[in-house]
């Protein structure tokens, strides 16, 4: 984990060709995804590598902006 923290999110993104939110998840152990639609959110979740064990919260919708959000946390596989 310490080794991961030495790199910035952008550096990890460039190295692994993955979205910035995946790097943020790996770096911080948690990330909140935001999108205009549920389908966009689902697509973002699909981009998280299968080897990442993660847990999802419940999709929320902001009452004012209408944006959908989903919190993802790294977890351990049973």
């Amino acid at each position: 984990m310490n080794k991961t923290k030495e790199k910035t999110i952008d550096e990890q993104n460039q190295e692994q060709n993955q979205p910035a939110y995946v790097a943020e998840l790996l770096l911080n152990g948690t990330v909140t995804l935001t999108a205009n639609t549920r389908e966009e959110l689902a697509e973002m979740v699909d981009n998280i590598p299968a080897e990442c064990h993660y847990g999802a919260g419940a999709v929320g919708r902001h009452p004012e902006t209408g944006l959908y959000s989903l919190r993802i946390d790294l977890t351990t596989k049973d």
């Binding site: 909140t32 549920r38 993660y54 999709v59 009452p63 004012e64 959000s69 919190r71």
Partner: protein, 303 residues
């Protein structure tokens, strides 16, 4: 002297990654209960029959209700980590209501998250209910807590979280419970007193000894229809068959979208359950049924 509003009395948890405290987001109420366990110290050398209670041990319980279920995965991970974490209660600022002010009544302690319930009901904002139980001493805050402000505000409509129930304990469930109206996930940790004569002070120290989880689902009864074959969803007949067989079946709770709200999205929890109770209600109004599913073995947070 101004009266403290309940809105400005908040529970904050310590985030070890950020080394800061964070409020329990979108909380609607919280309760802190200090408990002193007493024994009657009256004896025959004392005149009179009035009780003389003496404190033999102390503990503290906290409950929080919230409209945020964004962290359901994190909470389900936290409860099964079987480790306590640091929690405080304090007066919070009236400007952002997240800044802890270090009030004289503010306290800090180690607490197990020992019970959590997430409620996802049809056409209702989802809720969570958390209960914490102390282990070790509750202390006066020696410094004003450093707080990391959190962003909140998103509500989850309960209809967008659904239970998928399998018919056996091997295949990944692909069918939602048809006509579902209510759903709750409940998880509890059994704690036991682990104090001994070596323990300093009279605060109870606890250890986690058992984890139990269950799911409760409520749905409408469809008339004269084989739901399983007609709409590829689980209905009362199928759940009755699962109950009668008495074997565990796979289940998962997930975000849903799409036609009839049956498209599987991000998975919140998966595992095996047995049907422990099935209640069919036939009032003068709409017939419905509730299913109690008890977790069989550990659950997995996510897929």
């Amino acid at each position: 002297m101004a009266t403290l509003k309940g809105k400005n009395f908040r529970i904050l948890t310590y985030d070890t990654t950020a080394s800061k405290y964070k409020v329990v987001g979108m909380a609607t109420s919280c309760t802190v209960t200090h408990q002193s366990n007493t024994e009657n110290a009256n004896h025959k050398d004392i005149v009179g029959i009035a009780q003389l209670p003496t404190v033999v041990s102390q503990s503290c319980n906290i409950s929080v209700e919230s409209l945020s279920v964004a962290d359901v995965g994190a909470m389900l991970t936290a409860i099964k980590s079987l480790t306590p974490f640091t929690l405080i209660w304090d007066e919070t600022s009236t400007t952002d209501n997240q800044t802890a002010l270090g009030a004289t009544f503010a306290r800090r302690g180690q607490f197990f998250l020992n019970d959590c319930t997430f409620q996802f009901d049809n056409r209702t904002n989802s809720t969570k209910s958390l209960q914490f139980s102390s282990t070790g001493a509750i202390e006066v805050l020696d410094t004003t807590p450093t707080v990391e402000t959190i962003t909140t505000g998103a509500f989850t409509k309960g209809e967008n979280v659904r239970l998928f129930l399998g018919s056996d304990n091997t295949a990944t469930p692909s069918r939602v419970v048809a006509g579902a109206r209510t759903l709750s996930i409940h998880c509890s940790l059994t704690l036991e007193d682990a104090t001994s004569k070596d323990t300093d002070g009279n605060w109870i120290v606890q250890e986690a000894t058992e984890l139990a989880w269950d799911i409760s689902s409520g749905a409408l009864v469809r008339s004269g229809d084989n739901i399983t074959s007609s709409v590829q969803a689980q209905g009362l007949a199928e759940i009755e068959a699962i109950k009668e067989a008495g074997n565990p079946v796979k289940c998962l709770v997930a975000n849903t979208s799409g036609a009839n709200n049956r498209t599987l999205g991000a998975i919140i929890l998966s595992g095996s359950v047995i049907v422990s109770q099935l209640t069919i209600n036939g009032p003068l109004g709409t017939a419905d049924y509730t299913t109690q599913l008890n977790g069989y073995g550990p659950y997995t947070v996510g897929a």
